[in-house]
């Protein structure tokens, strides 16, 4: 179903506001701090919603629905295990060092804590990664808009790039953050009625679960495999993800999740823009509240789509097939939009999708222009220029970053394999990161040489583990096993989790070993950067319910209840 006038008008209203916000904010952009850090003036709830939206890009929304169809309710492990605990840890334990050290970026914290080379390694790999991620996101959007609106790939890519460029160029990080808040509400208001209609059509949660038993038994799993989270995780062969509880908890819940939420500047930047230390600490905790409910908005649609497709002869709709005959799970949300929404709501639903694409892209671009300007340009190319010079550099970097993303989108369109290889490479680089931050923040003896050696060997360990293992049923090559085959995993996901566990462990051990044989930094240089040398924050002036530890405990308790409810 292609959009009609009313749908176009709704999309138009959204674009007017997105650009209008950028235009209104342009006169506040006077210093580089205004541009890259929103002048550290954002209220906690705004920063919190932006923290969430920046991560809610294309792959997130489309991919989580696809996983919901493929693996069922267990996909919510990516939220309740793989996000919330790490977000709480960031707010309660790590934010005091990020915000308190006055670092302007995550790589800059590494420079303050360790040394120049550790920062350089992190800054360059991060900057490259953000540009390509934003390109991949743009590529996914191009394909989807082609399907939904009938736009051709070029129009989609250039139009969305132009809009994001305009609002970031004008209003910097503030513009990105404000638009992310708009996007957050659009996604909630656009998808909530979709889930309501889908569930109502299938007879509520009960009706959905009943239909999902057909999906599960048809593939040889226990009947509740699609509607439960933990009950089938005892063994990797009894659930469609092909992972067991230990891999989920350690690989996803600990290494991957903490590595992303606690060290990725894309999200941490939103908290750094908050107006005070307490607001910065509350940012990820506020974000955690809607985050724990997002499985119902993005995963349940996938479950509805698969339940609807497999049980024929009833109400609902059928997902289209891919060229190889399997169901195209990526179309879960677009198919539901066009099945359940009349014109009017269809416009709102498409706007919500567009919003999620643009927020993901803008998040990458604002993180890129900051790291480029502060950690690469100011550090290695042109030191000691005026603040105005760096402000302008930020604008140039925005244009440059978006241009590179567009190029990456075209590369992805032509050579899918190159993008798969790049994503694999990023996974290797990211996997060990959390070990470096954990030791840096909580062990004063960790040294720069240790951190650098740990990062390199962790990345090498990830690559080596990948080279020696393979998911069953895959060919050696991009999926692994390109040196020789030592071990097979039941699924690609299990292999990813264990790659991360190995990378983290090797980085952790090597960092400790090298630190012990290298000269430590004097303790006075580490005040404010390491836990044991930093005076405890006084929280007495905050109401008890606003204290990060209390909020964090509440968030964790609620997450635990959700896990038990959907056990």
């Amino acid at each position: 179903m292609h959009p009609r006038e009313i749908d176009w008008v709704i999309m138009g209203v959204y674009f007017v506001f997105v650009l209008g916000i950028g235009y209104t904010l342009r006169r506040y952009m006077k210093t580089s701090t205004d541009y890259f850090l929103s002048g550290r003036s954002i209220p906690a709830w705004v920063a919190g919603l932006a923290f969430l939206s920046a991560n809610l890009g294309a792959q997130e929304v489309i991919g989580m629905a696809a996983s919901g169809a493929k693996y069922g309710m267990a996909t919510s492990h990516f939220y309740w295990v793989g996000a919330i605990p790490a977000m709480v840890f960031l707010g309660v334990f790590m934010m005091p060092f990020y915000y308190g050290s006055q670092a302007r970026s995550v790589p800059e914290y590494l420079k303050l804590r360790f040394d120049e080379k550790t920062r350089g390694l992190n800054a360059i790999s991060f900057a490259t990664m953000t540009v390509f991620s934003s390109g991949i996101s743009m590529y996914a959007m191009g394909l989807l808009l082609n399907l939904l609106l009938g736009w051709d790939f070029d129009t989609s890519v250039w139009l969305s790039a132009a809009v994001v460029l305009a609002y970031i160029l004008l209003g910097g990080l503030t513009s990105a953050i404000y638009n992310e808040v708009l996007q957050f509400f659009l996604i909630v208001f656009g998808f909530a009625p979709l889930v309501f209609l889908g569930l109502k059509d299938l007879g509520g949660w009960q009706g959905l679960s009943a239909r999902l038993t057909h999906v599960a038994t048809a593939q040889g799993f226990a009947p509740q495999a699609w509607s439960s989270t933990w009950s089938q995780m005892g063994d990797a062969t009894s659930n469609p993800m092909g992972v067991e509880w230990f891999g989920v908890v350690m690989g996803l819940g600990f290494v991957l999740s903490f590595g992303y939420w606690c060290t990725d500047f894309l999200v941490v930047q939103r908290a750094m823009a908050a107006h005070s230390m307490s607001a910065a600490r509350r940012t990820p905790l506020i974000a955690a509240v809607p985050k724990m409910l997002f499985p119902f908005l993005v995963i349940v649609p996938g479950m509805i789509a698969i339940a609807s497709s497999v049980h024929t002869g009833a109400t609902g709709f059928v997902l289209p097939h891919k060229a190889d005959g399997t169901l195209n799970y990526d179309l879960s949300i677009p198919m539901m939009l066009s099945h359940y929404f009349p014109h009017g709501m269809l416009g709102l639903g498409i706007t919500a999708l567009l919003a999620s694409f643009m927020s993901g892209m803008a998040g990458n671009i604002t993180a890129f222009n900051t790291v480029w300007t502060y950690d690469i340009y100011q550090a290695y190319i042109h030191r000691g220029a005026s603040d105005h010079h760096y402000l302008n550099m930020g604008r140039v970097a925005t244009v440059f970053g978006i241009t590179l993303s567009v190029a990456a989108a075209y590369v992805a369109n032509h050579f899918n394999n190159i993008m798969d290889m790049l994503q694999l490479l990023f996974a290797f680089v990211n996997a060990p990161l959390f070990a470096t931050f954990l030791l840096g923040m909580f062990w004063k003896r960790a040294t720069g040489h240790g951190a650098f050696a740990g990062l390199l060997s962790g990345t090498a360990a990830a690559a080596l583990h990948h080279a020696l293992t393979l998911p069953t049923g895959s060919l050696a090559g991009i999926k692994g096993g390109w040196l020789t085959l030592l071990h097979g995993y039941p699924s690609e996901m299990a292999q990813n989790f264990w790659t991360a566990i190995w990378a983290f462990s090797v980085c952790f051990v090597v960092t400790i070993a090298v630190s012990l044989i290298t000269r430590p930094r004097p303790e006075k240089d580490l005040v404010g950067l390491v836990y044991s040398l930093t005076p405890r924050l006084r929280e007495a002036d905050q109401a008890w319910y606003a204290r990060p530890a209390v909020l964090g405990a509440g968030v964790l308790a609620a997450t635990l209840i959700l896990n038990l409810l959907f056990w």
Binding site: Y28, S38, V181, F189, F341, G344
Partner: protein, 68 residues
Amino acid sequence: MGLDIRIPLGMMFTILGCLLAGFGFFSDPAIYQRSLGIDVNLWWGLVLLVFGALMLWLGWRAAAGRTH
């Protein structure tokens, strides 16, 4: 930072709410077959309208508080 996000947020959802509810009120009921017979445009438009108005009220109240 100068601009209170609740104002544009409220304005946008008020406009979207009016558009959807208005369209839902005047549109042919036959198009709601796909949404299980529910006029989602009207009902959800009203929800958006209430949310938009609430945001505007909060934003204006805060602005009034700053000037006094």
